[in-house]
């Protein structure tokens, strides 16, 4: 299966500040009642974007200046909590193509990579610098160069690295493992036949 080689993501960016933003915050569990992921984007960060009566409250994703952003910035341990893929799916369906944060929760990172969403880690001060530049000019074009491990914006650049295994998978178009796993099926069947609890 030929997959897109994701070497860079260019677009506008928005910062959702905070550490330990968990998957329940990203997509509250009650929106997981679905049999397909279509339509999840609408509920991204729902409970912090909406008041109890369903009207908007102040949140970067409600700010018209940042509408159409494709790069999401945040703090440390982004995506902690559940293994639910609804969280990266909601992020992707909302229109984001990359996430930049101080650090990421393990399962979330893996789930994002498998969807072709680069998760790049950057230093807190650098994220703050980029966020300040965006505050000054929300339309500022931002490029996450996955291959080079940096973000370029308005003549500046900061380090933003995707971990090597994920980076290589993204830039070589191998971020979705299914093709390679299928190729291994004969070896899988052979191993299963030799494994007592599976052979029986």
């Amino acid at each position: 299966m030929a997959l897109e080689k994701i070497t860079a993501v260019t677009g506008r960016a928005v910062c959702v500040p905070g550490n330990d933003i968990d998957t329940d915050r990203i997509i509250p569990a009650r929106f997981m009642k679905c049999v397909t992921f279509d339509g999840l984007g609408e509920f991204l960060f729902h409970d912090v974007r909406k008041k109890a009566d369903g009207t908007d409250q102040a949140h970067p994703l409600n700010d018209p200046r940042f509408r159409g952003a494709t790069i999401l910035l945040s703090g440390a341990n982004f995506g902690c909590g559940s293994s639910r893929e609804h969280a990266p799916q909601a992020i992707q369906k909302h229109g984001f193509r990359a996430v930049v944060a101080e650090s990421f929760a393990e399962i979330f990172f893996g789930n994002c990579t498998t969807l072709g969403i680069p998760c790049a880690a950057a230093a807190r001060a650098d994220i703050a610098r980029l966020a300040a530049a965006l505050e000054a000019d929300p339309a500022l074009p931002v490029t996450l160069d996955v291959a080079a491990g940096e973000i370029r914006f308005g003549g500046q650049s900061i380090r933003a690295e995707v971990r090597p295994a994920a980076r290589d998978a993204l830039i070589h178009g191998r971020w979705d493992a299914i093709g390679e796993l299928l190729e291994g099926l004969p070896a899988v069947q052979a191993l299963a036949a030799r494994t007592p609890y599976l052979a029986a």
Binding site: D20, K33, C34, C80, E85, E106, I107, N111, T114, L191
Partner: protein
Amino acid sequence: MAKSLFEKVWAAHAVRTLANGQTQLLIGTHLIHEVTSPQAFGMLRDLGLKVAMPHRTFATVDHIVPTDQLVEPYRDPLAQAMMEELRRNCAESGITFFDRATGKQGIVHIVGPEQGITQPGTTIACGDSHTSTHGAFGAVAFGIGTTQIRDVLATQTMALGKLKVRRINVRGSLRPGVYAKDVILHIIRVLGVNGGTGYAYEYGGEVFDRFSMEERMTVCNMSIEGGARAGYVNPDQTTFDYLRGRPYSPQGAAWEAAVERWCGFASDPGCPYDDVVNIDAADIAPTVTWGINPGQGIAITESIPDPARATAADERASIEEALAYMKLRPGAAIKGTRIDVAFIGSCTNGRLSDFREVARHVRGRRVAPGVKAIAVPGSQIVALQCEKEGIDQVLRDAGFEWRAAGCSMCLAMNPDKLVGDQLCASSSNRNFKGRQGSPTGRTLLMSPLMVAAAAVTGSVADAREVFAVHS
């Protein structure tokens, strides 16, 4: 060379190394449920693929089932749709489905062990973060995302980087009134909610040697809350005694051979670990969370942290955020905090021994006025056994609602939800903002007996005092 269980199980299931350096790992047992699998079956259809090993795939329904309604259609049409989708997918692919009509339905992490599907030395995957529960049997069990569910359905394998192993010894004896739940809340508090990133946790020491399987499951269940992708206990006689005679356990001559094989998977004495942590059991107290992640816990005798006394700016900010959400006063005792709801259940603490322990102590007591208390067995089999022993009646007499098996108030996908900013004493595993169904609902995690103590006194209490638990 001496090897850990993780090393041995990994080696026994490694198919090959992939181009990105990850391992194609054979998954012996794939458990699925209604929430995370339908999209994966959809992806499979889109790709024109079939389920590779339907006989190694087992399904149950847990997250969305109403615990107060048994007849379908469910009041929530979306829940009904998910139910039917799972039924259809299982029927089409020839997958065993422990549907409600089988009498074997329950939370996936309770059903697997109960049926004897969860076995030592095996690999298990499930689209649910608490899959680490199955590690209690010396299995290596991973919570996975939907795309990986697709991979496992299509190939019975997934691509994974090898984890490091941290051995956590809990030495000595637990004090009376201290439970497995307190052990894991303590571990997470000590090592942090991200402390386990990149690791599998191997739990051991005298406390684990003495623990029952159900207690081991409670601890392994919450490994993920400490950031560890998997957690396990080496298999021993306790494990084998639990498994003997279960529906999917090996029978007859195959049993002896299996036990011998299982013993061989246990970590070799003196095997190297990437890290070792020692915890003195006597340091562990009944623990309660006060914040919005499971690492924000304190002993019942301690006070709620004061951000003003935090040493790092980060810590201060996270305490402030948590207290603002929890509406708790810094520096105040956690004991005495009024509660609105008491929930006993979930894949962490919804097993027979949990309800037995609670019933033993609440017999003859009453839930405090104004407190809504619900007890939800983790499976139909747990429910039946509790009913045989009269546990349901003891709880009902005390003023608890006794419900049908499911995830219930552990998360907000079925009708059991907090309302407004209700404060819930909960035996579940997550206290994230909004976790229990109301965007402003508040959760305090604790052991089932501590929940019972809060239920009968109407506020967070020390179960040792309330129920006169003495040494």
